[in-house]
C-alpha cells in the first residue's frame, strides 16, 4: 500500500515536524495509511502530526509553483489562503514537495454543517486582491486545463455509451473554456474549488482557509463559483444551499457575478465546463472500475445531454 513517494513524504513531514529536536510524540503517524491524505499522480499528501507534506505532479513547473506558494504566503492573503511552511524539498523521482500546517477539513458526513457562507466569503476576498501587489508573474488559472484533461482521460478510458453526450456538451463550449485560447478575466482565482479545499487555520482562531494552490492563478473568477453552480444546476446541491452560497458571495462584494439579478449569464460557461469535467471523470472512473454509473453521476451525464440539445438561441454566444 505504501509507495516510495508516501514513505519519503512521511520522512520529510516527520523531519519538518521535529526540526527543533525532541522525541516524536506523534505515535508513529508517519507511515500509517490513516495519515496518507491523498496518493495520486497529481498529488501525494502525507501528514505527520502538525505538518503536511505534499508532493506535486511530476510535470509541475517549479517557477510557477514558487510564485503560487509566494502568493499563499503573502500578507494580503493571510485570512484567505493557508500559508505554507517555509521549506521545500524534492522526491527521488523529481516531484517538488511543499510543507503546510495541518488544519481540520470539512466533514463530508455533515452536509448541514457545510461552510457555504465561509467558502463564498473567502472566494470574494480572493477575487478582490489586487494582483499587482502579489509575487509574479502570476500564471493562468488552470481550471479550463483541468476540464480538458478530464475529457482526455475519458477518451483514453475506452468506449462508453454516454461519452457522446459529454463530447457534444464539450464541443459547444467556447475555446477558452476548453483551454484552447487565453481565458478572459484578470482576477486571482483558486482554479479548483470544492469543499475539500477548505481547512480550519491551525495557527489562528480556527477560521476557514483555502488550500491547494496548484491550479491558482489569473483568470475569470466565475470559474471558482462554477462547481457549486454546476451541482445546483444538476440537482445535486439543494437550492437553499446554493442560495446561501451565492448570497454570501454577493454580500461580500464578490466580483464574479453582478450584485443583483440573474447570475447565470456570468456562470453559464464555467458551470457547463465543470459539468462536462465531472461527467468525463465519472465515465473514466466507472470504466476503470468496471461498474455502472451511480445516480449522482447519471444526473451529471443527463445535464450534459440537455446541454448538447440546447436550442441555439439558448446557447450564449461564445464571445467571452
Amino acid at each position: 500500500m505504501s509507495t516510495p513517494t508516501v514513505r519519503a513524504l512521511g520522512r520529510f513531514a516527520s523531519a519538518e515536524a521535529h526540526r527543533n529536536g525532541g522525541p516524536c510524540l506523534c505515535e508513529g503517524l508517519a507511515d500509517t495509511p490513516a495519515h496518507v491524505l491523498a496518493d495520486r499522480p497529481d498529488a501525494t499528501v502525507v501528514r505527520h502530526g502538525p505538518v503536511v507534506a505534499k508532493a506535486h505532479a511530476a510535470d509541475t513547473d517549479p517557477g510557477e509553483l514558487s510564485v503560487r506558494a509566494g502568493v499563499a504566503a503573502h500578507p494580503a492573503l493571510a485570512h484567505v489562503l493557508l500559508a505554507p511552511l517555509t521549506r521545500s524539498a524534492v522526491t527521488a523521482d523529481g516531484r517538488p514537495v511543499t510543507f503546510w500546517p495541518y488544519g481540520l477539513p470539512v466533514d463530508p458526513r455533515a452536509p448541514r454543517d457545510a461552510p457555504w457562507e465561509a467558502t463564498a466569503t473567502l472566494l470574494a476576498a480572493l477575487h478582490a486582491v489586487p494582483t499587482d501587489v502579489l509575487p509574479g508573474p502570476l500564471p493562468p488559472m488552470r481550471g479550463p486545463l483541468k476540464a480538458a484533461r478530464a475529457v482526455e482521460r475519458m477518451r483514453g478510458a475506452g468506449e462508453h455509451p454516454d461519452a457522446r453526450a459529454v463530447e457534444a456538451a464539450w464541443a459547444a463550449l467556447p475555446a477558452w473554456a476548453r483551454a484552447e485560447s487565453p481565458a478572459p478575466g484578470r482576477s486571482l482565482c483558486h482554479g479548483d474549488l470544492h469543499l475539500g479545499q477548505l481547512v480550519r487555520d491551525p495557527g489562528g482562531d480556527g477560521s476557514w482557509r483555502l488550500i491547494d494552490i496548484d491550479d491558482m492563478g489569473e483568470g475569470d473568477p466565475a470559474w471558482d463559483l462554477a462547481r457549486p453552480a454546476a451541482w445546483f444546476a444538476c440537482g445535486l446541491l439543494a437550492p437553499d444551499d446554493w442560495t446561501r452560497f451565492l448570497g454570501a458571495y454577493r454580500a461580500a462584494g464578490g466580483a464574479a457575478v453582478p450584485a443583483e439579478g440573474d447570475p447565470w449569464p456570468a456562470l453559464d460557461v464555467p458551470a457547463r465546463a465543470l459539468t462536462v469535467q465531472t461527467a468525463a471523470l465519472a465515465i473514466a472512473k466507472s470504466v476503470a472500475e468496471h461498474r455502472e454509473l451511480d445516480a449522482d453521476e447519471r444526473d451529471v451525464i443527463d445535464a450534459c445531454a440537455r446541454i448538447a440539445h440546447l436550442p441555439d438561441e439558448l446557447t450564449p454566444a461564445p464571445t467571452k
Binding site: P108, L236, W264, A303
Partner: protein, 93 residues
C-alpha cells in the same frame, strides 16, 4: 391540496403567468410538464432581459440555467438527494 411527499399543505403562487405549487413543509415544488417548459422558457428570457418581478407569495425559485435539472417533486426530492451526493461529489476534483 396536500404535498404528495410529506403531506403538508401546498401553497399556490403565480409567477409570470405560471402556476407553481410549493409545499409549506418540505418546500418541494410541483409543476406540470407544460408549466416546467413555460418556466424554463421564462428563465432563459430573464437571463437576457431585466430581472423578474418577485412572486406574489411563497418562496422564489432560484434562477437556474436552461440545461438545469428539472426541479419536479416526483423526480427530485432534493433534500434526500442532496445528502446522498454530498460526501463524494462535493469533495473531489
Amino acid at each position: 391540496m396536500q404535498c404528495p411527499k410529506c403531506g403538508a399543505p401546498m401553497h399556490t403562487y403565480n409567477r409570470n403567468g405560471v402556476q407553481i405549487e410549493q409545499c409549506s413543509g418540505c418546500r418541494g415544488i410541483f409543476l406540470d410538464y407544460g408549466e416546467l417548459e413555460s418556466l424554463t422558457r421564462l428563465e432563459s428570457q430573464w437571463s437576457q432581459q431585466a430581472p423578474p418581478a418577485p412572486p406574489q407569495q411563497g418562496y422564489p425559485v432560484a434562477p437556474a440555467p436552461a440545461w438545469g435539472a428539472p426541479r419536479h417533486g416526483g423526480h427530485h426530492g432534493h433534500h434526500g438527494h442532496h445528502n446522498r451526493g454530498f460526501g463524494r461529489m462535493l469533495f473531489s476534483s
